[in-house]
Symmetry: C2
Subunit: 194 residues, 2 copies
């Protein structure tokens, strides 16, 4: 029992470092960059509040769990902004390999049963094939759009993003998980691009 709790808390203490991983996106008030810990909280809250936008059959509790752990690999790899490297950075073989290695190390701190469960959940999120993972991915794409809109441009300004690029890099993925939500977000975002 004690060895198990030691491993559980070693993981929880290590996870704390996600609060020091900075994203390209700022807070809604533009005051500072958002970190990946608070981003993960905000996304889980998105899932609770926007559950009625999910396709039939989506299990919101699983979506919340995915969102709580989806960025843990960034403790080793850092955040890869979606609009960086002309929108291609996250798809690179190097990034994928580094994230898999990070998952080995970080989930590997846990007792084996928990390691297997959370690792599988992270892989499901990354693959974005199940309805739960597609909805989780959609929310992960919607939240920075809102932060950019509220803060006056954000990463769209930083990376000179066009509306067509937003639609290709972000809109397509949002629509995959929750088509009606992209219609609403698009209507809000379109005017910003002039």
């Amino acid at each position: 029992m004690t060895a198990r709790l030691d491993a559980q808390f070693a993981f929880l203490n290590e996870a704390d470092r996600l609060k020091s991983v900075l994203r390209a996106t700022t807070l809604v008030d533009g005051s500072r960059p958002e970190n990946s810990g608070e981003h993960s909280w905000h996304l889980a809250l998105y899932a609770l509040v926007l559950a009625d936008q999910a396709e039939p059959g989506v299990d919101i509790n699983r979506v919340v769990r995915m969102l709580l752990i989806h960025d843990l690999v960034e403790i080793d790899v850092g955040d890869v902004p979606i609009h960086s490297a002309n929108g291609q950075a996250h798809a690179s073989v190097e990034t994928q390999a580094a994230e898999a290695k990070a998952a080995d190390r970080i989930f590997g701190i846990l007792p084996q049963d928990l390691r297997d469960i959370l690792r599988a959940l992270w892989e499901e999120f990354e693959a974005a094939e199940t309805p739960d993972a597609r909805f989780a991915k959609s929310l992960d794409r919607v939240q920075p759009v809102m932060a950019n809109l509220m803060s006056g441009g954000g990463t769209w300004t930083t990376y000179n993003v066009t509306f067509d690029q937003l639609e290709a890099r972000v809109g397509v993925k949002i629509a995959k998980g929750t088509p009606r939500l992209w219609d609403w977000v698009k209507a809000k975002a379109r005017p910003w691009f002039g």
Copy 2:
């Protein structure tokens, strides 16, 4: 549909402000104060990882939901450190009234169905009477103990806390939700107090 989504996103944008509410506790590495948004994420992760410490019948999905929303009232009221005002601050009538008013305003931004659900969940957490709420409260007390231990003292130093005070203010509440977990935490914390 559009009016509903407008209200849902108005709430999610307002919730972003929780990332700017600072707590007395620091990050595990002691580098800066923790904010209540990332704290809420960390607690939800605690619930996933420490689910096997909950009493039989506890619904971890409900615990996670409670923890995601439990601090939203701090957007208006701020964080009330557990060891401040000689350990009495949070029990004051003034604090309770201010938090209820904050809940009216913040949950009131939501469409009525979601407002009622999340408000009831927050009240259940605050009352700390159901098994789900007691477990959620326990985790909310455990996490700062770990942060203090990892960062070399933290709020125990700030507020000159004794081990007896820790046991009375924190230990009793942890043990109420998860007795075995307090035994483990106590064994880790005791030596710090000399």
